[in-house]
Amino acid sequence: MSLDLKIDDLEVRAASGRVLLSVPRLSVAAGMCLGVKGPSGAGKSTFLFSLAGLGANSSGAIAWGGTDLMVLSPEARAKFRRHHIGMVFQDFLLFEELSAAANAALPGAYSRRARQAVIARKAGDVLDRLGIAHGGRTVESFSGGERQRVAIARALAADPEIVLADEPTASLDRKTADRLIEDLVRMVREEGKTLIAVSHDPAVYTRMDRVIEIVDGAIVSDEVRDG
């Protein structure tokens, strides 16, 4: 299934009624790496969470491959995320008391038994490719770069078509950040996944196929790069 993104008349409001984000129209082809840049508080993260079906007070349509998240129930959206979307966050959000393997295989905890083994295998495979040892050690002692790699393995473990990353390098130093974004982009390209990464970091969006800029809740530029 090819999960192209099509947004129509998306509008997200704050509880006060103020418009936080307005996207009249946007299409992203499946397999594309899309960077989202813009100043703080411009609505980048709101945009990203809306794409995952986590937005509140929104109207319009966000369709992945024809499935409009906006008309789905919260449980149906959760099911869509479970099967099609992997997420990476700024501060990793790992379970500190669990090992790298257990963290990466977290999506297996709420999947059917048959799928559990597949997820665990995939998580281990990604960890291997990212050079993370996944013995019994808990991630408490891991460095930031190692943690974010575990988070990437978790995002890819359920083999989703889409990876959404929210400031994936913001908690890392320059050198680590560069290596991490390289790894992330390499992984999603190898597997032909769609990546949408929100970031301040030029090192992130210079590696993208296409970069949009959001300012004050609106897309102000849309640039396709030739890699």
Partner: protein, 442 residues
Amino acid sequence: MNPLAPLYRAIEWMPVLAQDITVLVVLVMPALIVGALVLVGFRPFPLVRAMLWRFRWTNALFVLLIAVSVGLGVGLIAQERGLRQGTARAADPFDLVISAPGSEITMMFAAVYLQPSDVPLLSGEIYDEVANAPDVTLAAPIAFGDSYVSSPVVGSTAQFVTHLSPDLAEGAMFADRLEAVIGSRVDLALGDSFTPAHGVGDAAEHDAHAHVEYVVSGRMQPTGSPWDRAIIVPVEAVWEIHGLANGHAPENADQLGPPFDPDYFPGTPAILVSAEQLYVNYALRAQFTTDRTMAFFPGTVLANLYSLMGDVRQVMSIMAVVTQILVTAGVLAGLVILTRLFARRLALLRALGAPGRFVFSVVWSYAATLIFSGAVLGVAIGYGAAALISRVVSAQTDILVTATLSWPEFHLVGAFVSLTVILALVPAFIALSRPVVTDLRS
């Protein structure tokens, strides 16, 4: 009324053990059903373990709170049963006691538990009448009043010693006026001799019987009663050293034990009566309930005390149950606050697409784990407390009180777990209603 009465009525035909197990199953059934419904298809335990470990000290405190409140209820029940069994076992050889009219409780404490008391004597005619009543198998005088160190010295007969201890642990029955059989915990050895004091405790006159020396001839088996500290001597000796007739006519002056001659019988504070025919006990009790005599079953006196004790225990049990529920409600309220600490993790799970029911099951399992651990630890605490108190009581009263765990405690704990794991659904619902994105970014 006991809400379980209809259930017990329905399963009355089963063996008692099966009844108790059935009741336990019925009591924990709600917990099992809720658990099954919440957990079906999920394995939240690795995450729950992680959360438990993350806040281990807070969790340990919660578990301890629950455990102490559960232990209170368990300990109460176990302690009451221990006291009942211990005092009943100690009174077991005393079916029917006849004495001068007075307080049954005072007399029971004096004759059965050897708590000294100044009581009037029964005459030789009465003793004769009791001893010669049809079907009486044992009519033993119990002549207390003297002591040696902390041991009461009681005058009675060889038959009475055999009644308390069918076989002696060592040595032989007294065969002579100045021989004595001692209780299992008396600090004397066979062949030791001692001089009794007149009276008991601080009021004892130590030189009143200075010219008398008993020799220990035998030792009884342990009975778990104050009689383990007693020294039993021939009643004739007690009479003689008090300067009284010795129960026998001058021509039989050397006789030991019954029959006694009413004309030379100085009196006894109490008579222990034993009869094999069931109705004879009741007949004698009626026959000797007169203006000169009092006849009572120590068993009845105790049973009445137990029913009082049971009422007190019941009131305290209700308080203990209320405490348990309040503590658990407090802990669950604490959990609602604690789940805010978990809020990011729970939000993460939901952002990754975990079903709401999975998140629900994580929070519930977490709460249920605390409750269950608290309940198990509470049983241990309750048992430990009861064992400790029992030891103290045994040491102070010489009545062997042993703490045991039995079905009522497990029923209580089962009901507690069922009730509280259902209450634990509340924090799980509350956790589920939190906003995902807000929690994720907090």
